[in-house]
Amino acid sequence: MANRYRNSLVEPAPVRWLLIGVTLLFLGVFLLLPLIIVFVQALSHGADVFFGAFADSDTKAAIRLTLLTAAIAVPLNTVFGVAAAWAIAKFEFRGKTFLSALIDLPFSVSPVIAGMLFVLLFGAQGWFGAWLSAHDIKIVFALPGIVLATVFVTFPFVARELIPLMQAQGTEEEQAALTLGAGGWRMFWHVTMPNIRWGLLYGVLLCNARAMGEFGAVSVLSGHIRGLTNTMPLQIELLYNDPGAYSAAFAVASLLALLGFVTLALKNFLEWRHGDELAALRGK
């Protein structure tokens, strides 16, 4: 008799456990295990070897380059992302769907193709190649190229986080601000920004993690010059392919893995602390 009134919207316990179990197993094997192995391998020869890996000058240069690249690419993409999200969420204009599709382009294009695109444009035999070498500007095999590749690949993160948020919030608050006498910039800074700040931070975190970890596009553009144009992911590949530096590769890789964990932790912390505000700002 008690079974008759079981809530039919809840799966029976065995189904629930099966689904949760499969998910955990999948995530565990494909996500968690590799990350743990990275740390295990990194420390397998002891702390000395671990810290020794970071004493190498080429590795230090690679870490600096990654940090510099992210320091340029992330702010750029933040500004572009906000601008693009603003245009799409607040205005009607011809070509809006096209712009929307364009924003998603970096996600659908293989990073290697993205890298080759820039080589085609700016390489020595590229469309602008002659002009660039005439003016002694190096893009390919130098920092500008690496930054370009990174900006391209990580562009969607901020925009995609902001677009649905800004669409849900609508334009009424901004209109109200205008009627009260606020100019465009004040309206943006005092009304729009505070409403999107957590979504923006979210997007920036993801953009940063990806910017630091980008391999494919940067690999095509960097030229792999040790100590000069190797970012961390490229340096890791280099070390990994060198039989004598196997552990060093994992040591450096563990840094990137750590970055991944920190990003996730921050993201979850944001959700936990400001989840209510995030939901409220979405217009509920």
Partner: protein
């Protein structure tokens, strides 16, 4: 401030939203724009505010030709159906926003801004709620904050877009009476949009009926 509108026209592509609108509103009048959805009443209100552009015609506030003025320059007080309060600011900051974004040269001192804000809150009977946030208020309270916010800039004209549409019947009746009383007290030229005929006749000095982008009846004084 009296308002005069001549030959106002607005199109959205092929659709004519407003046709050859001619309207005169005397200073201090409380006018209702009454009509069904699609009659153009909200478009007209927003055009007066400058939130919509117009294709033909002119709008004057007193001696000033407002047709080419930006939203900010027109200094209209606008109250939205869904309040449009700034969610992340408390009530006092909402109300004083219009004063705080003024240029240095015309901005009152902070103490004066605060005083005016509190005074307005008192006027709309929300004394003591200045530290609250919009999400902590009821619909009726939010709309009164929105009204105080619009009044803070000492607007040339007060425009209300179905101000009680999002509220339940009882609150609607209360606020109607309260708005009429407030208008009698402070006397701003006011235009409000509604689709509710009884509300229009109860509140307004004059009811202007619209249909199909045109004014059907400019209304006689109540």
């Amino acid at each position: 401030m009296d308002i005069s509108i001549r030959n106002l026209g607005k199109n959205y592509g092929n659709v004519t939203a407003l046709r050859d609108i001619r309207l005169d509103i005397a200073s201090g009048e409380l006018i209702a724009l009454l009509g069904a959805s699609g009659s153009g009443k909200t478009t007209l209100l927003r055009a007066i505010a400058g939130l919509e552009s117009i294709d033909d015609g002119s709008i004057r506030f007193g001696d000033i030709d407002a047709t080419r003025l930006s939203v900010q320059e027109r200094r209209v007080g606008f109250v939205f159906q869904h309040y449009a309060l700034f969610k992340h600011m408390n009530v006092l900051d909402n109300v004083t926003f219009g004063l705080r974004v003024r240029k240095r040269s015309t901005r009152p001192r902070s103490a004066e801004i605060r005083r005016r804000g509190l005074e307005l809150l008192d006027l709309v009977q929300l004394k003591g709620l200045e530290e609250r946030f919009p999400t902590q208020l009821s619909g009726g309270q939010r709309q009164r904050v929105a009204l105080a916010r619009a009044l803070a800039i000492e607007p040339r004209v007060l425009l209300l877009d179905e101000p009680f549409g999002a509220l339940d019947a009882k609150v609607r009746k209360e606020l109607r009476a309260w708005l009429r009383q407030l208008h009698d007290e402070i006397g701003y030229t006011t235009i409000f949009v509604t689709h509710d005929e009884s509300e229009a006749h109860e509140l307004a000095d004059r009811v202007v009926t619209m249909a199909d982008g045109r004014i059907e009846e400019a209304g006689a004084a109540n």
